[in-house]
């Protein structure tokens, strides 16, 4: 919080300090999505230009759910399919090793996938570890992070049809590949109002699975947040994901997110419930504003979580 004490007057300090420390909640709804199946294109990380203070922590359990019939092909064509349902139970944690270095972990403890005419299959997701370093902290908070994603999730999980016993579909909860997100993020806060903003750019270096090389991806995002009545945090966010090297004509493996592109927007809110425990809610949906939706199921995604902050 060094930059606050130097850039803001003391009368505002308690509010602003709380504001900044609470900003991490605003990063969470994206983190909810990290380990979901590639059928759900949500592999953007929590991002901000701040790091945690030394020994500070943030730990959350969340549950999210989506249902969709709208599948966008690699060419951007909308197909109405059988109803797809995905739910996930996710752990997310941040820990400040130093004032400038934070370790972040995201692990979908269980993800359930299924179509209306198949059984539901579930499994562990991939573990994402993020190592975040504050390059600048005072006037323009700026962080760089490297986040390897370890393929410990269930890379193949076949759901059998409930109609024809010979039919099945692969609905993995992990993509089976090792990949690394590299992110540059910057944030700001207003000196006299509990308002903040964040922008980020990220690059996902993907490897492959089962002999298939996946295409790299890049992501852009922006977020704003505001503290209402010193009690409720609300935020709005816009994110976009695209494939490096242009369009893929044929899916190398569509259940693993190869060729996925989208623009998403979301709205979130957080409220304290007991001491340092807070309740967070988030709604996310997708459109074609920056990048057209490709190789993904599109629908509203609702998530609810409880988080604990250690200061």
């Amino acid at each position: 919080m060094e930059f606050l004490s130097e850039t803001h007057d003391y009368n505002n300090m308690p509010l602003l300090k709380k504001f900044i420390t609470s900003c991490c909640f605003t990063t969470l709804p994206l983190a909810f999505c990290l380990g979901l199946s590639a059928l759900f294109p949500s592999r953007l990380a929590a991002q901000s230009g701040w790091t945690k203070g030394k020994k500070e922590g943030f730990y959350q359990l969340s549950f999210q759910s989506m249902t969709s019939n709208d599948y966008y092909t690699l060419g951007g064509e909308l197909l109405e399919t059988n109803q797809f349902v995905q739910q996930s139970f996710v752990f997310y944690g941040e820990y400040g090793v130093t004032d400038r270095f934070t370790i972040i972990a995201n692990l979908p403890l269980q993800t359930w996938n299924g179509f209306e005419n198949t059984e539901s299959v579930s499994g562990l997701g991939d573990l994402r570890l993020e190592f975040k370093h504050a390059i600048l902290k005072k006037y323009l908070p700026l962080t760089i992070s490297v986040a390897p994603e370890l393929p410990i999730g269930t890379a193949n999980n076949f759901a059998k049809s409930t109609i024809n016993d010979f039919e099945q579909i692969n609905l993995p909860s992990g993509d089976g590949e090792f990949n690394v997100w590299s992110t540059l993020a910057s944030s700001f806060s207003l000196p006299n109002a509990p308002f903040y903003g964040t922008i980020f750019a990220a690059y996902n270096m993907r490897t492959g699975y089962d002999g298939i090389q996946f295409s790299d991806q890049y992501a852009l995002g922006a977020e704003i947040g505001y503290h209402i009545a010193k009690k409720f945090w609300v935020n709005a966010r816009l994110n976009a994901l695209a494939t490096v090297g242009g369009d893929l004509l044929i899916a190398t493996d569509f259940v693993r997110g190869d060729g996925t592109e989208f623009t998403s927007y979301s709205f979130g809110a957080s409220v304290p419930v007991y001491k340092q425990f807070n309740l967070s809610l988030n709604y996310r949906n997708f459109n074609d504003l920056i990048f057209e939706r490709k190789n993904m199921y599109s629908s509203g995604v609702v998530s609810i979580g409880v988080y604990y902050e250690r200061k």
């Binding site: 092909t73 005419n117 198949t118 024809n164 010979f166 039919e167 099945q168 692969n170 899916a251 190789n295």
Partner: protein, 149 residues
Amino acid sequence: MKKVFILFYVAFLGLVSCTDDPDPVIIDPTKPTGVLNVMRSGSFVDQSNSGSVGTAGIGTDTKGKEFLTFNQAFNTKFSTGTVTVFLSTSATFMASPSTGSPNLFPIGPVRAAGENFFAIPEGTSTAKYTHVILWCGAVGIPFGNARLQ
């Protein structure tokens, strides 16, 4: 006398072992016997970016048994899940469970790229079916279709 018997026995074995037995004929009911005379065929049109390519054809073998065949160039997306082959009266998959889906005839799953043969059950008339459809049943989307002409 004993030597005579032994000589006779050895001579008998020699005659038996020299018999030129023909190789057994194994009939695979899933593949055509002899030449498959393809009467109608067409190329697959890719759908849902599944990469479906190749040619489908319907014909009869030398014993008059009817088969649906895919050529060596056939391919589609197998890694997702089961791809089921249907004969259809149009390029569109029109299931109607309540009426027994009269516009569709299920052939079965296709599990590999390249040449495939599917035996048509005897007594089945394929005359009214104009298309072959590759269908991903779990998702409910087409992977491709070929017009038979």
